[in-house]
């Protein structure tokens, strides 16, 4: 009987929350950790977050370019990776690549690695007054950061953390197959479209997991009685449906050099006239893969450990997928403490 009562009560709450979501949809307040804009370069912004700054070495966080907005890393108070890192005492900097327009279609991977990242690293050092910085790359931000560290050995990088960033693109799964030279003509694609529109990016990611929306909505209905879940869902759902376009030339170089030719892993990449060899990375390296990641499967992420020359290197594979590695309850339990725990002794 008590079970019935509980179930009926939950159904009432479900209906109430559903009505609230439809009749009074509230914009979730994401990105609440206080921050300052330190530097801007075209659309890119470098933010410094308020923290106790217990550790001397600042952390420069490099997320993906295009695809999605970076507020996923500071979603809501209590479920924010940035909030976690600042509470641990890290001097935390976020590079927001920005939302690109048609005027940015000429931006390339080379520009990002040889013009934007070195300048942002300079600004981190200048603003923190530190001699070294740690680099933390997530998703596409990890191979871009790895290329930057490998091409600029003179930049004082104390450590590098790769969170779910593909390195060996021969093991990158479905996207690797679909973007194969045999089937996908990247030149025709970019020449026709100019930029890769946000809707196209969205379609690609939706196709990667066609049942995702179904299971998301089913889970929403199941947890609709739970106000806390609904709040988190609204924020995450807003983020998950806000896609960002790719600049055309960036997409061309990204697909050709990384997905199709796997130049980064093979050591054949040259950016700004500099060779990019992962073996040139000698700083401590921490690699985090997610066991159910279908965007960057663990094997392609793990490859960094074998490619670098660092003595201090470690790989961990955590439960979850590409997003749940960095956001949500699982991330707070597994990933965030692992990353901050590994970085702490390497941040003095």
């Amino acid at each position: 009987m008590a079970q019935w009562e509980e179930e009926i009560e939950r159904n009432f709450r479900r209906m109430k929350n559903l009505a609230g979501m439809i009749m009074d949809p509230r914009e979730p307040r994401t990105g609440q950790t206080p921050r300052q804009e330190i530097h801007r370069k075209n659309k890119s912004r470098l933010y410094r977050y308020e923290s106790l700054r217990t550790f001397r070495t600042p952390v420069m966080f490099v997320p993906n370019l295009g695809i999605s907005r970076p507020y996923i890393f500071d979603l809501l108070p209590g479920s924010s990776f940035i909030e976690h890192m600042t509470r641990q005492g890290f001097d935390f900097y976020l590079l927001d690549w920005g939302v690109f327009g048609p005027e940015d279609n000429g931006l390339t991977v080379e520009d990002c690695v040889t013009k934007i990242l070195p300048r942002m690293a300079d600004k981190v050092l200048e603003s923190s007054g530190a001699r070294e910085l740690s680099v933390l790359g997530y998703c596409m931000g990890a191979p871009l950061s790895a290329a930057f560290i490998a091409a600029y050995p003179e930049v004082p990088v104390r450590s590098f953390t790769n969170m779910a960033g593909p390195i060996d693109f021969s093991k990158v799964g479905l996207f690797g197959l679909w973007l194969d030279k045999k089937y996908f003509n990247v030149d025709r694609f970019v020449d026709t479209l100019g930029a890769i529109p946000a809707d196209m990016v969205k379609a690609g990611f939706k196709l990667l997991k066609p049942t995702m929306d179904l299971s998301t909505n089913l889970n929403l209905w199941w947890n609709l009685w739970n106000d806390k879940y609904v709040e988190g869902f609204s924020a995450l759902n807003r983020w998950a449906n806000e896609y960002v376009a790719f600049p055309g030339e960036f997409f061309r170089q990204w697909v050709r050099d990384f997905y199709q030719d796997n130049k980064l892993y093979r050591g054949e990449l040259r950016l700004g006239g500099r060779p990019v060899r992962l073996s040139a990375i000698r700083c401590p390296v921490f690699v985090v893969g997610a066991s159910e990641d279908y965007i960057a499967p663990p094997a392609c992420v793990r490859a960094l450990v074998d490619a670098v020359s660092s003595r201090d290197k470690e790989y961990v594979e955590l439960p979850g997928g590409h997003i749940s590695l960095i956001a949500g309850r699982g991330a707070a339990m597994h990933c965030w403490p692992k990353v901050s725990g590994w970085l702490a002794p390497r941040s003095d």
Binding site: E37, L218, Y294
Partner: protein, 188 residues
């Protein structure tokens, strides 16, 4: 109730996985060799299994709130099975080839249409003496280039100031500050 339901779920799970695997095989076959798709035939076995399964649950056990969680579990497993099956089907050369062909065909149709629409829009805007998208983009691109030049100049000035500092320190004079281009701003 729980044991009976569990047995039924195991049965359903197996049936769904078998069905999904069969579908994966069908999808991964060459499209040229396949017969025209029949959407009704695709869903029929799934719906039949669904209805039969539920009929068995209602026939064998009394309804309780527990059935709701079992139902959720069943749906989760079904979605998971379908997801795996679709994943397998899409992880084939045949699918990649089909997708590539579809994109190519779409680009062939979309490219000229976009060009024509852009041209007519530009002509219309010119008629009304309004700047076109291409002109606005060109101005924006010039601003981006200007920003890049200013940045390079700033770098040069900062390098010179640092040199001056070093020289000044050698001569015992006070340092010249080589500050950042912009003061930190509070976020909007």
């Amino acid at each position: 109730m729980v044991d009976t339901s569990q047995q039924l779920f195991d049965l359903w799970k197996k049936q769904f996985e078998d069905g999904a695997q069969a579908w994966a095989r069908v999808l991964s076959e060459s499209p040229a060799a396949a017969a025209p798709p029949d959407p009704a035939a695709f869903w029929r076995p799934v719906i039949e299994q669904w209805v039969q399964g539920w009929a068995r649950v209602f026939a064998q056990a009394p309804i309780s709130p527990d059935a709701t969680s079992q139902w959720k579990q069943f749906l989760d497993q079904s979605i998971d099975a379908w997801s795996r099956a679709l994943g397998q089907a899409m992880n084939t050369d045949a699918f990649a080839q089909m997708l590539g062909r579809y994109l190519d065909q779409w680009l062939v149709a979309y490219g000229p249409a976009k060009k024509a629409s852009d041209q007519s829009l530009e002509t219309a805007l010119q008629t009304f003496n309004i700047p076109s998208r291409a002109q606005v983009t060109a101005v924006a691109r010039q601003i981006v280039e200007l920003d890049e030049r200013v940045e390079r100049l700033e770098e040069g000035v900062n390098a010179l100031l640092r040199r001056l500092d070093e020289v000044g320190r050698g001569l015992g004079s006070p340092p010249v500050a080589a500050g950042p281009r912009s003061q930190p701003r509070e976020r909007a």
